[in-house]
């Protein structure tokens, strides 16, 4: 299982533990979409997303869009370096509106 889900105090915590690319997009969308139906808050942990491409980005955009229309609170947490790179490249950090914590050892890697 590349996606781990935990429910706690009305918050669904999802951790994506894989790359988010065209190869994983279909599976990830199918696994993530059902969680949009709850009236829970959604917290998606991206710390273990090793790689993200346009397809992966689209999944995030899709989740955000669906969440907004259904009035679900969605936050992306612990962005990995590759996710931050993409969001910054496309000037999307504001769109998602989540605080990004930049780890000190990223730039050196």
């Amino acid at each position: 299982m590349t996606i781990e889900t935990q429910e706690q105090n009305g918050i669904t915590n999802i951790t994506i533990k894989d790359e988010m690319t065209i190869y994983t997009a279909l599976e990830q969308k199918n696994e993530l979409a059902p969680h949009l139906k709850t009236d829970h808050e959604l917290h998606i942990n991206l710390s273990e997303v090793s790689e993200i491409d346009s397809a992966g980005l689209q999944i995030l955009l899709f989740l955000k869009h669906e969440a907004t229309t259904k009035n679900i609170d969605l936050s992306l947490l612990n962005h990995s370096q590759s996710v931050v790179e993409v969001l910054e490249l496309l000037n999307l950090t504001a769109h998602f509106g989540d605080p990004i914590i930049i780890s000190a050892d990223w730039k050196s890697s």
């Binding site: 065209i22 190869y23 090793s50 790689e51």
Partner: protein
């Protein structure tokens, strides 16, 4: 994490030079000497770009691209075709098979690197 590029060409020297250029830019490189050899080397590892010649013994580039696109792990892998300036029809055939990128032979390393970087940066 270094990106992996496969180069398929029956000319050992082309493979070597392309390999040197790609490695020095920071890519991992896999080599194959024709379409058949290349197919046998597609064993599930992650490949970010496949560069293939058209005119090769055993299995030509267009057949190879067609076959590779059938493999689930590689159906979305970008493919780049090495064509000659006269080979517009080959380019079209390559595009139809799924190789949307191309590079005209003969090329020098800077041209190769420019074309590769459009598809995948190291």
């Amino acid at each position: 994490m270094a990106k992996t590029i496969m180069i398929v060409d029956d000319s050992a020297s082309i493979r070597q030079v392309v390999g040197i250029a790609l490695k020095s830019a920071g890519y991992d490189v896999l080599e194959a000497c024709d379409g058949k050899d290349a197919l046998s080397k597609l064993t599930g590892q992650k490949i970010h770009l496949i560069i293939t010649d058209v005119n090769m013994p055993n299995m030509d580039g267009i057949t190879f691209v067609t076959e590779a696109k059938k493999l689930p792990q590689y159906k979305f892998t970008p493919m780049m075709m090495l064509t000659t300036e006269a080979g517009t029809d080959k380019k079209m055939a390559g595009k139809a098979a799924g190789a949307k990128a191309w590079l005209t032979k003969p090329f020098q390393p800077p041209t190769l690197m420019a074309a590769v970087s459009k598809l995948v940066l190291p």
